[in-house]
């Protein structure tokens, strides 16, 4: 271990992804070469800026997007000063001055000061309702505005502007994109591709004001509109500026370091000052300032090698590729994209399928490409451009779709060191090694292990291809191609549930935003499903979302075809008393119910109750809800059992009542029915219930997965137990396992065929510790349940919200 004093002092100004990624690479190459000090203006350690949107949605805390914890800095002996701004660099004395007046000496200095959004300097730009699009506050303002205002304008038709516009459109605003030029994304697309993209976006509902220069923002304190160069105006109550970013060069410029648009660097990231380097969005290399993540990793790698005395090829610039991710619009662009006299262009424009492909070739070498409407070959095209591949018949056939490309071949030629996930800097090699070493079989597992696809998800198709290629025959495309839980998302039930747990999502709105639902308000399929999953995962934290409940579960009654409701009070184990029967009869008379029906579940249904009478009838009954409408335990059917029956070996009524009282009211993936029989004659139909219990001398048999409904299925024997305690623990564990792994609306009869009885036996019967853990989680969930009828009666606000009606007598004016 070298002494501190022997080491060179390295200062990093800027505590973001560029600076810290460089530091990480230095530590890998030569952990003891430098004594490192980091200054950051923000009060946090290094975090993942790409994931700020999650913080905004409260789906992740700041802590969760931290890439390097304070402990990491401490472990690596790095001195970290957060909330500290560097105000000046004395390049002669080699010291930096901070806002507190202190001077710190350096031998080597890395500037990683990043960039900020550019705000158009036009009259009225300081009005309320005009924001950039970069940080938490901006996103919060956007969400808030969507709730209050309708008309939005986004200035800037580049990548950032279109994504902001799409976001506002999904929030229900009327959005117009204002663009100075005639073509969208003119820095990545040729006119044909731009116009195709614009048509697609117009179909999705975006409006465009093209070729318009913003001259002035109109309005009083708050913006009300925009006046353009030609004198025309556009109404806008909310404006997002997304015209570009500006490298933060002020510190370097004030300290006499050469700056242009960015801090000027050479191929080793050296600035004009000796010992001072610049990396990331703040620099300008060969006339280019990059605003993307991938070049930052490439620059950091070169700089780290240089600083550690390791041989390195100089940084020759990055082939910038752009992938726009807007649902229903695939756009990819890399390298050169405009026609020129010295280029050979391969072009395909299918106007019927709205696909446009273009490959640009100079001297036989592929130098660029544009794909619109079909970006399946983007990984390959980018690789060819990076490596300067020579165009040939095979490549031509592949990219133009003339040849049947075998699945996964697009990534076969990707170099090991190629960064697949730009957001998290994950290379192909890292993914392949993870798949092999840990025997991964799904993209989800790759995400958990390597972080690839974790942030924006844009690389998911490529990651999936790498998985296919690595697993070969073992790749189960059926498993990989699970359909989404509804049309709002491509994510499967398991992906959604995993993400909820991982990201700590508590409300279904958070889920829909954090997991980028196409339809941010959800639909009648996912809304009730998410409400269930969240309640199951966070029994204490999640507040039930009434607006996402089906009518029956929202109103706690069974809606009928005439708009009236059925009311079914509990009758535990199908056992009642004369007093209760009398009360039910009196109430039925008082409310003039249309019919009293004995149900299949051994209780009484009062049919034809008016919606507005529901709370009053519950109050008069004074009985708990029988949940005849719910995705929860309905009834526990019982036979007479040993209390009276000559054949009864067990007290089935007693056990049925115990079970019904224990498990009632708890949300399940689907309706759940139970039965307890006192002997094998099966008078309570245990063989067609989700759980059927059959008593015989000295033991209980437990049958599961039965169904007497649409798809009749006989229950199968799970196990036999001797004591009532064992019986209850097995039932608790079984129900909880089903709650945790079942898809919403999937009955146990389908679930058990999907999971397999053997698996269920292994988890519930053979694994005592696992069984106990499941039973404990069941107890925790049961602690949260409340009697819904009484809850509505006790809570005037809730009652008003669900049942309150407004009556306006007839005969107003003109009637």
């Amino acid at each position: 271990m070298q002494q501190h004093s022997d080491r060179q002092r390295l200062i990093v100004v800027g505590n973001g992804m560029a600076g810290i990624n460089t530091v990480e690479q230095i530590l890998k190459l030569a952990p003891e070469a430098y004594r490192i000090t980091v200054f950051g203006s923000e009060p946090y350690p290094n975090y993942n800026r790409i994931q700020l949107s999650y913080v905004l949605e409260k789906s992740k805390s700041i802590d969760e997007i931290i890439l390097n914890s304070r402990e990491w800095y401490a472990e690596n002996d790095i001195e970290l000063h957060t909330g500290t701004t560097v105000t000046h660099i004395d390049t002669a004395a080699k010291t930096v001055k901070t806002a507190d007046g202190a001077d710190t000496p350096y031998d080597k200095l890395i500037l990683a000061t990043g960039s900020r959004p550019f705000m158009l300097p036009v009259p009225g730009a300081d009005k309320q309702g005009i924001v950039g699009f970069r940080d938490i506050a901006d996103c919060e303002t956007m969400l808030e505005a969507a709730g209050k205002y309708r008309k939005a304008a986004v200035i800037g038709g580049g990548l950032l502007g279109l994504e902001a516009a799409k976001g506002l459109l999904k929030l229900g605003m009327d959005v117009t994109v204002v663009h100075l030029l005639g073509e969208l994304m003119e820095r990545q697309l040729d006119p044909t591709a731009s116009h195709l993209l614009q048509q697609e976006l117009e179909l999705q509902g975006l409006k465009f004001a093209m070729g318009q220069k913003t001259e002035e923002f109109l309005g009083g304190e708050r913006v009300s509109g925009i006046r353009f160069g030609d004198g025309s105006t556009l109404e806008a109550e909310f404006v997002v500026m997304a015209v570009g970013i500006r490298p933060n060069v002020e510190l370097a410029r004030a300290s006499g370091i050469e700056t242009n648009r960015g801090i000027v660097v050479d191929d080793l990231l050296r600035t004009s000052a000796e010992g001072v380097y610049a990396v990331g969005e703040c620099n300008e290399h060969r006339g280019v300032s990059y605003g993307l993540v991938a070049p930052l990793f490439e620059q950091g790698a070169v700089l780290a090698k240089h600083l550690c005395g390791v041989d390195t090829a100089p940084y020759a610039g990055s082939v910038v590729s752009t992938q726009l991710k807007i649902s229903g619009v695939e756009v990819f662009s890399a390298g050169e994209f405009m026609d020129a006299s010295d280029l050979t262009v391969v072009r395909m424009h299918d106007e019927w399928r709205r696909i446009y492909k273009k490959v640009l070739i100079r001297g036989g070498v592929i130098v660029g490409g544009v794909l619109v409407g079909d970006s399946s070959q983007s990984a390959r095209l980018q690789q060819w451009i990076r490596t300067g591949a020579v165009m040939n018949d095979e490549y031509h056939a592949i990219v133009m779709g003339a040849a049947a490309v075998s699945a996964g071949s697009g990534v076969a030629e990707l170099a090991d060191e190629e960064i697949v996930c730009g957001c998290n800097g994950v290379t192909k090699k890292m993914i392949v090694e993870a798949i092999r070493e840990r025997e991964l079989t799904t993209v989800d597992e790759i995400k958990l292990t390597t972080g690839a696809t974790r942030s924006c998800g844009g690389c998911k198709p490529v990651v999936e291809q790498i998985l296919k290629l690595t697993l070969g025959d073992k790749y189960d495309s059926a498993a990989a191609k699970q359909a989404g839980i509804c049309d709002c998302t491509p994510l499967s039930r398991d992906e959604v549930v995993t993400a909820i747990k991982e990201k700590g999502l508590i409300t279904s709105k958070e889920v829909r935003y954090a997991l980028d639902w196409h339809n941010k308000e959800g639909c009648s399929k996912c809304r009730p499903a998410l409400n269930y999953y969240l309640g199951m995962i966070w029994p204490q934290e999640h507040a039930d979302e009434k607006d996402s409940r089906f009518v029956n579960e929202r109103m706690h009654g069974n809606i009928q075809k005439d708009g009236t409701f059925g009311v079914v009070p509990r009758m535990y184990g199908g056992v009642t008393t004369p007093e209760d029967l009398r009360l039910i009869a009196d109430v039925a008379v008082k409310y003039n119910v249309k019919l009293v029906k004995v149900t299949g579940g051994q209780r009484l249904d009062l049919l034809g109750v008016k919606r507005e009478d529901l709370p009053a009838i519950w109050s008069d009954l004074g009985m708990p809800s029988g949940y005849a409408y719910a995705k929860a335990l309905r009834t526990v059917k019982t036979c007479v059992g040993s209390q009276f029956c000559r054949f009864g070996t067990k007290d089935s009524m007693g056990m049925g009542i115990v079970l019904e009282k224990k498990y009632e009211r708890l949300d399940m993936p689907a309706k759940f029915k139970m039965a307890v029989n006192g002997c094998p004659r099966n008078c309570a139909e245990s063989s067609t219930k989700d759980i059927g219990i059959v008593g015989n001398e000295g033991a209980w048999e437990i049958y599961v997965g039965g169904n007497g409904g649409i798809k009749a299925r006989l229950a199968e024997l799970l196990c036999k137990v001797k004591t009532d305690e064992e019986l209850i623990e097995i039932i608790s564990a079984f129900m909880q396992y089903y709650r945790e792994t079942g898809k919403y609306l999937e009955r146990t009869s389908d679930w058990i065929e999907r999971v397999g009885l053997e698996k269920v036996k292994a988890v519930i019967v053979e694994d005592a510790a696992g069984r106990k853990a499941l039973a404990d989680r069941m107890e925790a969930a049961l602690e949260q349940v409340r009697e819904p009828w009484q809850e509505i009666l006790d809570n005037p606000n809730l009652r008003e919200r669900l049942f309150g009606e407004i009556r306006i007598p007839a005969g107003g004016p003109k009637e």
């Binding site: 309708r150 229900g172 339809n519 009648s524 809304r527 009518v551 109103m555 075809k561 669900l802 306006i808």
Partner: protein, 111 residues
Amino acid sequence: MTREQLEAAGYRLVGNVEQFPARIGKLVRLGESEIAVFKTTNGELFALENRSPGPRGGTIVDGIVSGGVLYDPICDWRIGLADGAVQAPDCGQVAVYPVRLVDGDVYIGRP
């Protein structure tokens, strides 16, 4: 329009905007008419006749509201809140009542 103009045009004051919770339908009985009133996430109010357009009858006030769309609680058809039109692949029409706001007071007009 002013309150006087609205009343002259046959609108009736039915309550304050605060009485209408977001995404939970509220039943308004205006004389003999049953009207289901919905407030969307971004605060817009819509009023539709409380009758399912589907083949099985029933009411729509307790449907699930998503943006400007109501999912019929009986047949799960999608009904546009603004125009009452049933969206593809199904078809049908629910009568729509015009809604006007004056200083937070909600007026409903004739369908």
